[in-house]
Structures are given as C-alpha cells and as structure tokens.
Amino acid sequence: MGMTKADRRMDGWADGAALLALLLLSAYPPIRLSAQDTTAGRAVYEKWCAGCHGETGAGDGPAAGTMLPRPRDFTGAIYQIRTTASGQLPTDDDLRLAIDRGLPGTAMPGWKDQLSERDRRDVLAYLKTFSAFFADTTQRPEPLVFGKEPGGGTSVDALRIGRQFYDSIGCRKCHGDRGRGDGPSAPTLKDDAGFPVFAANLTENWRFNGGSEVADIYRRLRSGLDGTPMPSFSDLIDQQFLTEAELWRLAQYVRSLSPARPPEVRDVIHARQVAARLPTSPDDSVWGRVERYWVPLVGQVMRKSRWFTPAASGVWVQAVHDGQQLALRVSWDDRSQSPDSAWLEFTDRVLETVARDDSTPPAPTPWPDQLAVQFPLAIPEGFERPFFLMGAATRPVYQWRWTSTPGGVREDSLSAAVAGLARGIDRFDPLPGTPLSAQAVYDQGEWRVVFSRSLATADTANQLHLRTGRAIPVAFFAWDGSNGETGTRMAVSTWYFLALDTPVRAQVFVSPILAAALALGLGLTLVRRAQRPRSQIRRRSDA
C-alpha cells in the first residue's frame, strides 16, 4: 500500500530477524511457542482428530456413535488416564502419552508413528484450548508421587495380600469376584455424560485403557479414572486404611488375573487325539491340560443392521478327539448371564447410544446369550470356501448353535444346542435329528460350552464329515443379549482352521533316524580319511 522501498527493506529485515527469533524459540524451549500459537494444532486436529472428537472438541464427531467408550469430550477437561489426583487436570506428559500410545481397548490409536513430533505437540496445545480449566495457569497439575513397586509381585503371599484388599475395598462390586467386570453394580454403570460404561474386564489387561502392567494399574488406582465410576484410592493411603505397599500388592494381584502375555492369534486350532474318555462336561479336569487358542471377535459391520460395539472381544477354543468323537470347548467372558432383567436398562442405554442402521432403536428385550461355531458343509479340496459371514443362500454353511435359553427358561436350559445350515446372515435352518450335544456352564462372568459330535455323519450332504489330518475351516460368532445383541447385532470372527491331529506313527521316525545315521557315517568317514593320509605321511617320514 503506502509502503516505501526502504520500509519494505526494513520489513524484510525485520522478517528475517523474526524468523531467526522464531527458529531460536522453536529450538529452545520447545513447548512455549506451540502453547501460544494454536493455528497449527488446529489444522492437525481438524484433519486427524475431529472425525471422532468433533470440531468443537465435544467428543461428538461423526464416528462417535460407533464407539463405546465414546471419544473423549475435551470441553470439560476431564481425563481418565492421568498421573494426577482425582479431579485434577492431566499433565502435558499424560496427554502426550495418550496421543503417542493411544488407549488400548478403545478406538483411539497411537499417533507416534503417524504424526510428526511437532504435529503432536501442536495438537496437544490445541486440544487444551477447548476447556477454560487449562487457561488458569495458576493451577499447575502436579503428578502424584507413586514410589516404587515392591518386589516379589508374583509370590503367593503378595497375591494373597492383593486379593485381601481386592475384597476389602470392594473391587468386586463392579469388577466381579474373578475380575470379569460382572459385579452386582456393573449393570448400573454410566459415565459423566450418561453413556453406558463397562467395568473393566481385569482378565484382559491388553485392553486396559491406561496400560497393562503393574505400574499402570497402580497409577489408575491412585488417580482414578475421572469421568467414569472408577474412583481414586489415594485418600485411603492418607487415612491409613492401607499402605502404599498394600495398594501396590493390589495392583500386582490385578495384573495376575491376566495372562503373562496377550494371547497370540494362531490360524490352526489343533485337537489332540486322546486314548481316554473325551471330556463332555465344561468343567472336566481334562480341559486344564488341553491347549487353548484365542480367536478374536469384532463387530458385525457388513450387513444391515450393523453392530459396532460387541461385548465379547474373543473366545478361547480347545478341542480333543478320540478318533470317533470330537469335543470342542468354547469359553468366553460375558459380564451377564442373559437373559437377565437386571441388565434391561443397561441394554436400553447401549442401544440408545450406539449408531445403528434402523431408524428407531430396537425395543430392549431380555435376549439370551448365543454362540455359533461354523464349518463348511464339507472340507474344501481347493482353497475356495463358503462366505465367512454365515455363507450365502446358494452356498450354505454348517453351524452349531447354542442359546442360553432354548425355547424359554427350563431347568436343563444350559444343555441344548442345535446343528443346522445358515444360508446367509439372516437364515438358519436347523437339521432334524442331529447327533450334536452340548453342555454349558456360566461361572463368574464366563461361559464355557462343550460341543460333542461324532466325526463321521450319515448325512454327508448337509453335515460336515470331520476328518483327521485336514485343515477344516471354522469360524465363531457370539451374542451377548444384555448388550443388545441378537440377530445381525453380534461379534464375528473370520475363518480359522481346526485340525484333528493323529498320534505320530512309528514309521515317521524311520527316515529321520536313517538320515541322522547316514550323516554320522559320512562324518566319521570324513574324519577317518582326513586323519589317515597324515598318519601315513608321518609314518613314512618316521621310517
């Protein structure tokens, strides 16, 4: 405009100086600059975060309805995973860690490898602008002092002390006696916004939002999970109800409820052949010696009406056979023994909260729990298989279906299953006179169902002839009635394989022994030959 050349030159010079200052500032100290300038953070936020957390940070982006727990609402500055006391703001490090690592067990991924360090820092500064609480710089959130984990955390004594406090501070009220999130208060739990909340299943530590290890668990006990029913237990230390060491023991006990490592997903479920009688009861001691395989389940999101928030995260599968019969045990965690009217309000809240394809929410009903085990009609010769999601009208699949209340509540209601053909997701035709039997037990938040069937079948047109030594495609489906699951609203797996192994035949050892003997013979010959000429040479020179 009215700028002279000199002005412009000055301006250019000033620009350069500003740039230099900017560079210096951005190099040191790193946080200051981004905390003041949030436009960069806003761009990152709107591109990568707003889809779930919403443009205004209220946790109401377009994807929010497909998630339980819902995305964090930043406007209240209430954060679950912190190192600060209950009700305190999180530290920048707390927020950074959540962004970098994500929150396991939720839809929040880690962004460490996806966004640059600068982007993550900027977005952190920006999301703090959503709440006035962060603007009050006189309140500097201070992390709690956590101390060090006492040793011997896996010893019987440590776990006994931990368990004692698990009982005395009432963990079982929500988390249940065995920690499967099935406590008496579990059906009433809501978060601050009124959305349904599950008490964490303490046997699946790989899904703990704040991390899976003892120190993570201890921190959650001290800080509580703000915005959820999980309180802080720090006051109990101040009031000498328990000591820090005892709270650490509790954390160690909680850790001990989960396997040492998260379950590995393997393609093939091996069924050993046993000489003894097959276990047909879900609590037969034989099952304790049978290897178990983890099959992850996810929501059915292919066909209407889709289901985004299945209750079961997977099933454990075990199988044995005796050459005549197969016994297959499926165990999975379920926080309710559906149908249970105590859970009806919870069911209603879940159906109200989660996005759906129907225009009106389905009326909550005390639906039963269900499980389906799926096979093709015959073991495929090529690599072609029926459609994993319950086959198709033209190409059905063979299924075993178990329901917690077949035809209403009966005394023997836990012992019935039916085989049949699924012709797509919405059609199941039971086969009359099936040789399938099943026994089920619900125990402290876990279903254990044993299916038994003879390997051979007279009805080879419809029922799978189970053969040994073959990779038999198998898939699993689970419904938790109290979570609003029925029909197409279910948890699904992809195709896995079941292999009925046979004992190793003696002939199998012949060739390895022969090969080893041959190798040894060759080796000895080689040594002999290598040694001979030299000794001959030596003898000759001696002479």
């Binding site: 779930c52 377009p62 072609e384 994993f388 290598a530």
Partner: protein
C-alpha cells in the same frame, strides 16, 4: 588383537562372516526397510545358497586361498586338541539332519496358503443398484464441480468416519480397531500399492461391490468389505473416494495415462 586381525584376513573366517552378514541382512534387515515384509523361509534359503556359491567361488579362485580356507576345517578333523569340537560336530550335525528330516516327514496340519489377487481385473461394466454403469473410462463426476470440491470432501469425511473407520482406521492405514479380527487385513490407503495405483473407477467398484463382488481369484469368501451399494448412494461413494485421496495426499491413476484401471 593380533588374533582378530589375522582372523579378518583369513579366508575361512571371511567366508563365515559373509554368510552371517548375508543372513542377518536378509532375515532382519529387509523387513525394516520401508514397504517391505518378512522374507519367506524358502526365499531366505535361496538367497543363502546363492551367497554360499559365491563364497565358494571366491575361496577356491586361488590355490593359496583355497589351502588357507581348508586349513581350519582340516584342523577340526585332525588336530588332537580340537577333539571335543570334532565330536560335538559329529553329534550336532546328524542330530540337525535328523530333526530337519523329522520336520519334513511328520507334517503338522497347517493353514492352506492364501492365494489371492489383491487387485483383480475389474469388470468393464457393473450394475449399481440395479442400474448399469460402465467402469471403463469412468471419472469421478464430483471432480468436475470444482467449486464444491471442499464440500464433497467434507461429506466424504463424514461418511468415512461413520462407516469405514472401524476397519480402515483413523490414519487410513488399515489399522482400525476391528482390523485384527479380519483376514485379509483391511486395505491401507497410505500404502503405495492401493489407491495410489488405482483409478477412481476401480476404487468405486471395490467400494460398491465389496468382498461379495470380488471375482473368484480375489477370495471373496474371506473379505469383510461390505457391498456399500447397500448402504451408500452413488454420490456418497464418489465423495468418500475424494476424501481418501485428499486425506492421504495421493492422486488417482488416470485413464489418459494408462488406459487401464489395474496392473
């Protein structure tokens, strides 16, 4: 120190070092390179045999080197002070041979290999919601309305987050929270090998028809990709395609350049 220096010059230890370095590079080096995966065992074996042949040619190329190379081998076979090593090898090698042979004979049932064409040839024409639609030469019609492009991208973003996120993920990298439950894994749109090398008409076909619309070589029975024509309108699918390219910063393959939608 001198021992180490001598060993570095010695052809036997050189050969051994080359083999070890080659193995480490193939087994652990290649997988960490961008856009690569673990090398299958059979390929590792092939590479190692090649390296071994090269090494043997090198050591036998000159008479003196060959003699020098054989020296440690000979020592192990002959020297009395190396008797323990000799006997250990005589025990270990046959045991290894026996174990490998056992592995060959006593086969455990394994999952059959997945033979799947990732980008199968698209049909020239499809039926979209019972209306015929020609894919060959088809462009994203929304790109023609330049002024409204940001709105379309915004619409596509909303649709993506409401529908695609559980599998394809927040970062469009196929790592949504449902992804571990499926096999094959959901497509990674950030990868060079997906939307970046496809025309928008191909992407439209894959979205509209999903897993069930795959030809046999695409293993339609395993894909969890829904047939989105059951959920979305034609315009919504084009909008979400715009979003995929916009969000990943990729460009679709165009008909002018290739005249074809696939490899």
């Amino acid at each position: 120190m001198n021992g180490i220096r001598a060993a570095i010059r010695h052809p036997f230890w050189q050969a051994l070092a080359i083999l070890v370095i080659a193995f480490v590079a193939i087994e652990f080096g290649i997988p960490v390179l961008p856009d690569s995966a673990d090398v299958p065992a059979s390929v590792v074996l092939q590479y190692m045999v090649t390296v071994l042949v090269g090494v043997l040619i090198y050591v036998s190329d000159n008479e003196q080197r060959w003699t020098q190379f054989r020296e440690p081998i000979r020592a192990v076979l002959v020297e009395p002070r190396l008797t323990p090593v000799r006997w250990s090898l005589l025990a270990a090698v046959p045991a290894l041979v026996g174990w490998v042979a056992y592995g060959q004979v006593a086969t455990r049932v394994e999952a059959p290999p997945i033979l799947r064409s990732i980008h199968p040839a698209p049909p020239a024409e499809i039926t979209f919601r019972s209306r015929p639609m020609t894919l060959t030469g088809l462009e994203n019609p929304l790109r023609a309305v330049r002024d409204s492009l940001p709105d379309f991208v915004g619409e596509g973003k909303r649709i993506y987050y409401q529908n695609c996120l559980p599998c394809h993920g927040d970062h469009l990298d196929g790592q949504g929270h449902f992804a571990p439950g499926f096999n094959p894994l959901p497509a990674n749109f950030q990868d060079d090998g997906t939307i970046a090398q496809l025309t928008e008409s191909f992407v439209f076909w894959r979205i509209a028809k999903g897993g069930p619309g795959l030809p046999r070589e695409g293993a339609p029975w395993n894909s969890a990709m829904p047939a989105w024509e059951d959920f979305l309108t034609e315009r919504e699918i084009w909008a979400v395609i715009l979003f995929l390219y916009e969000q990943t910063g990729r460009r679709p393959r165009t008909w002018e350049k290739t005249g074809d939608g696939h490899d």
